[in-house]
Structures are given as structure tokens and as C-alpha cells.
């Protein structure tokens, strides 16, 4: 299992052909109190860099982009009733959606944890 990061502050946990995607703890701390999460529809084909989900704080709405191309396999419905889970456990229970990875070569452009830490430092 590998965890990768984007410059847009998303994380991807790679398990076989599946990528589980969420936003980083750094991102949630920048956003502040999350009050609403709009999830993508299961089955939707997402292209890399396409808006996939929306995370809204009291003050503003922020897009979550698909970090790679793929089909939405599953979404975290818990976030509909408990959006604040993003603030309390962004890197764990508050995963947002799972993608079936269409092209593994796209993973090459993402950062490992050390590189992401340097990016946010």
C-alpha cells in the first residue's frame, strides 16, 4: 500500500487498481470548519484534473479535483451527515471517494510523503 499526494493537497491510498482519495490534514486546516461535502456519483468517469467533489466551510466552497483518471467505485456517504469528519480525521475516516485507476502511469506525477511535507513546509 502506497500513499501519494498532489500539489492541490489531496492524498491517494493505492491498493491494487483502486485509489482511495481524500484531502490532507494541511488542506482541512486551511479550509476551517467543514459544513458540507458534495460527493461524486458512483459510476462517474472522471478525467484527471476534473472537479470531482466540493468541500464547503462556513466561509467558502473548494473543489476537490480528480488527481488521476478513473471510474468512481465508491463514495464516503458518512460525510453527507458528518462533514466535520474532514476536520477531525482528514487522512483516515474522512476519505471522500474511491477510483478505479485507469492509467497507472499517471501516478508517476504524484508526490510521496516526504516530497509533500517539503511542499507544504
Amino acid at each position: 500500500m502506497t500513499v501519494l499526494y498532489t500539489t492541490d493537497h489531496e492524498w491517494l491510498r493505492i491498493e491494487g487498481d483502486t485509489a482511495t482519495i481524500g484531502i490532507t490534514d494541511h488542506a482541512q486546516s486551511q479550509l476551517g470548519d467543514v459544513v458540507f461535502v458534495e460527493l461524486p456519483k458512483v459510476g462517474r468517469q472522471l478525467k484527471k484534473a476534473e472537479p470531482a467533489a466540493v468541500v464547503e466551510s462556513v466561509k467558502a466552497a473548494s473543489d476537490v479535483y480528480a488527481p488521476i483518471t478513473g471510474e468512481v467505485l465508491e463514495v464516503n456517504d458518512t460525510l453527507s451527515s458528518e462533514p466535520a469528519l474532514i476536520n477531525s480525521d482528514a487522512a483516515g475516516k474522512a476519505w471522500i471517494f474511491k477510483l478505479k485507476i485507469a492509467d497507472k502511469s499517471e501516478l508517476g506525477g504524484l508526490m510521496n510523503e516526504a516530497a509533500y511535507k517539503a511542499h507544504t513546509a
Binding site: Q30, F36, S57, A60
Partner: protein, 383 residues
């Protein structure tokens, strides 16, 4: 995630800038100033704390103006100011203040403001983003009757919430005896300040104008009380939105009249048709006629039926499929005290009745909203 980095030009600092930084304020550009949007507690906790106890807001970016009558008679300054607004300024008793608007020739709003009678002069508090234009407007039209002083050496803070009075009483024993919209000079912690019992949250509270050099000391005394938490611009906006209070540049501007903005209550009888000093302000023809006949559109409260916030700029539709919008949201977000999204916007009079159902376009979906009475959260003023 899309994160925004603003390359701000040289931002001005309020006299409380160092205090914001020391207390962990997350600073953003606002009205030309480097201001705290929130502190470590975050918008949600800051909002709820203000409604439960007391919040301290730095609003020093706002303009504070002294208008002194050249004749020495306060009524002359009041009459002069009435040339620029549809309010009865003459009737503001010494020690009282009133909500007002500067109007333009089309009946639109150049700014909204507070006007206080300090006995020998009038004291105005105007929006930060409008203060330079307001000063020029006053100089252009009132220079014959008034001297106009922009008080740039003063901070302005708001102390808001059910515990504001007890918190301020520790350093200003006279404060709890003041009533809503009382205003005047007071000693606060031994410093000569101007205090009004008013605010922008819907809660009981005070606005305190403090000489810049003493602002940090006075504010530190207020914050040296577990009931009082510093509050950023984020919660200031969610508090005023729940209270149904307009934000200039968003809900009201040069294209909206006081009647369209549902501010008729702020236009006194004496300035309306048949009143002792009817008209005589810019846009009087439009505003007086709208006061009698109504306006074709109206600023209304909106409660989204789902959980998704409907934000400023969202277009409003009569149904789920019509192509032509009938209005737009001018302020919208999440109301922490209501624990639900809230919004306000303009709708045609035909759709403005409380209970009407309209639809907002949010990311390509039509979300239902119900027209609601405002305020969304009851006001808690000490009348």
C-alpha cells in the same frame, strides 16, 4: 484542493494588528487592510461563542467621521446631512444614534452608516471600503455648513453577545445602563472613548472607538476575561447574515434602493411624502414613489431546503427548468446557530412572499429554497 494565494498590494494595518498576530489571527486582505478572518478557534466556534458569551471584533477599517456645524448649532449639521440621506437626522436626540444611508440620484445606495448625535457634533461610522468616497461626498456637499474630520487616529472595536455588557462593565461601569442605539463619549478603563450600544451580529453589544495608541491596552483588558473571545471576519459575516443584516457591496450597492433592500423602516415619516421635511435628498423621486407603491424587486431571506450552502452570485429561478433567472443570491453561506445554510437575495415582488419556493443554480443543479422572514436568528437587543 484549490487554494488561493493573494498577492496583496501594501495593506494597511489597524492599531490592533500586532494583537491579532500575537493571538494567532489568520490574516487576509479586507477593505485595504490586513485583517483576521479567524483565530485558532475557527469560524464555527467563534460564531457560537459570540451568541453564547461575548466576541470582540476589530472594525478599525471602518471610517469614523466628526461633522461639526460651522454655526455651532447641531441642528444645522443635522439639516445639512439630511441633504444626503432619507433619514430624519434632526430628530436624533443627543446621546442617540440612527442607521442611515447615503443615496444617489437614482435612489441607489452609496453607503450605509450610523449617525450619532454627540451634542455639539455628529459622529458617523461608515464602511471601510467606502470611507474615502464618503469623505469626498461630504466635503463636496456639506462644506458650506460643516467642518468634516476623518478620525484616522482611532481604533474601533465591537464587543457583542449576551455577556458583552457584563464584560464591558468591568472597565466602563456606565455601559450596562445604556440602551440599544445610545451613543456618546465614555471613559473606558480611564481612556476617553466613544461607546454605542449597537453592533452587527443581532446580539446585544457595544461599539467602542478608542484612541489608537490606547487601543491594544483597552482590548487586552477586555480579552483578559474568559467570556470574551477575539472574533474574525468569517464569523462576523455568518453572524450578520443570520441576523438578516445587509452587507454593503453585496446585498446593497449603488443599484439597490432602500425600498428594494427592505430598509423602509429606516426612512422616517418626516422625510416621506407629506412629512415636515419630505424629500430633498438624492433620488428622492424614486425612493418616495417606491415607499408608496412598492418596488418591483425585494431583498428577501432564503432558507435552502437541503444542506448545501447557496452562495453569493447563485442565480434564482421560478422552477427547476426555466432558462431565465428571476433573481440572484447576494449573501449566502452556513449559519452555525441555525446549523443550516442561509442566504439572502433579490426576487421579483411576485415571488417575494414568505413561504414561496424558488430554485438556485448550484454547480448545474437546481436546489430548492424557501423565502423566509428575517432575521433567521432573533435579535437580542437591549431596548
Amino acid at each position: 484542493m484549490a487554494t488561493h494565494v493573494s498577492e496583496a498590494p501594501t495593506l494597511r494595518k489597524t492599531p490592533l494588528h500586532a494583537l491579532h498576530l500575537a493571538r494567532g489571527g489568520k490574516m487576509v486582505p479586507f477593505a485595504g487592510y490586513d485583517m483576521p478572518v479567524q483565530y485558532a478557534a475557527g469560524v464555527l466556534k467563534e460564531h457560537l461563542h459570540t451568541r453564547a458569551a461575548a466576541g470582540l471584533f476589530d472594525v478599525s477599517h471602518m471610517g469614523q467621521i466628526a461633522l461639526r456645524p460651522k454655526s455651532g448649532k447641531i441642528e444645522d449639521a443635522a439639516l445639512a446631512l439630511e441633504r444626503l440621506m432619507p433619514q430624519d437626522v434632526v430628530a436624533i436626540a443627543p446621546g442617540r444614534q440612527r442607521y442611515a444611508q447615503f443615496t444617489n440620484a437614482a435612489g441607489g445606495l452609496l453607503d450605509d452608516l450610523m449617525v450619532a448625535n454627540f451634542g455639539d457634533h455628529l459622529f458617523l461610522v461608515v464602511n471601510g471600503a467606502c470611507k474615502a468616497a464618503d469623505e469626498a461626498h461630504l466635503r463636496k456637499h456639506l462644506a458650506d455648513a460643516c467642518s468634516i474630520d476623518m478620525l484616522t487616529d482611532r481604533a474601533l472595536v465591537a464587543l457583542q453577545g449576551p455577556k458583552a455588557a457584563s464584560a464591558l462593565a468591568r472597565i466602563c461601569p456606565e455601559a450596562p445602563a445604556m440602551k440599544f442605539m445610545d451613543a456618546g463619549p465614555q471613559q473606558v478603563d480611564g481612556i476617553s472613548c466613544f461607546v454605542s450600544r449597537s453592533g452587527y451580529t443581532g446580539e446585544d453589544g457595544f461599539e467602542i472607538s478608542i484612541p489608537a495608541a490606547r487601543a491594544e491596552a483597552v482590548v487586552s483588558r477586555l480579552l483578559d476575561n474568559p467570556d470574551v473571545m477575539p472574533i474574525g471576519l468569517g464569523a462576523r459575516d455568518s453572524l450578520r447574515l443570520e441576523a438578516g443584516l445587509c452587507l454593503y457591496g453585496h446585498d446593497i450597492d449603488t443599484t439597490t434602493t432602500p425600498v428594494e433592500a427592505a430598509l423602509e423602516w429606516s426612512v422616517q415619516k418626516s422625510r416621506r411624502s407629506g412629512g415636515a421635511r419630505a424629500g430633498g435628498f438624492p433620488g428622492a423621486d424614486v425612493i418616495l414613489s417606491q415607499l408608496e407603491q412598492g418596488a418591483s424587486r425585494r431583498l428577501i431571506g432564503l432558507l435552502p431546503e437541503g444542506r448545501a450552502p447557496v452562495r453569493e452570485g447563485a442565480q434564482l429561478f421560478a422552477d427547476t427548468n426555466s432558462a431565465d433567472p428571476i433573481g440572484a443570491v447576494t449573501s449566502g453561506g452556513f449559519g452555525p446557530s441555525l446549523n443550516a445554510p442561509v442566504a439572502m437575495g433579490y426576487l421579483p415582488a411576485s415571488h417575494a412572499a414568505v413561504g414561496s419556493l424558488v430554485f438556485a443554480d448550484v454547480r448545474g443543479q437546481r436546489l430548492p429554497l424557501r423565502v423566509s422572514a428575517m432575521p433567521f436568528v432573533p435579535h437580542n437587543y437591549k431596548r
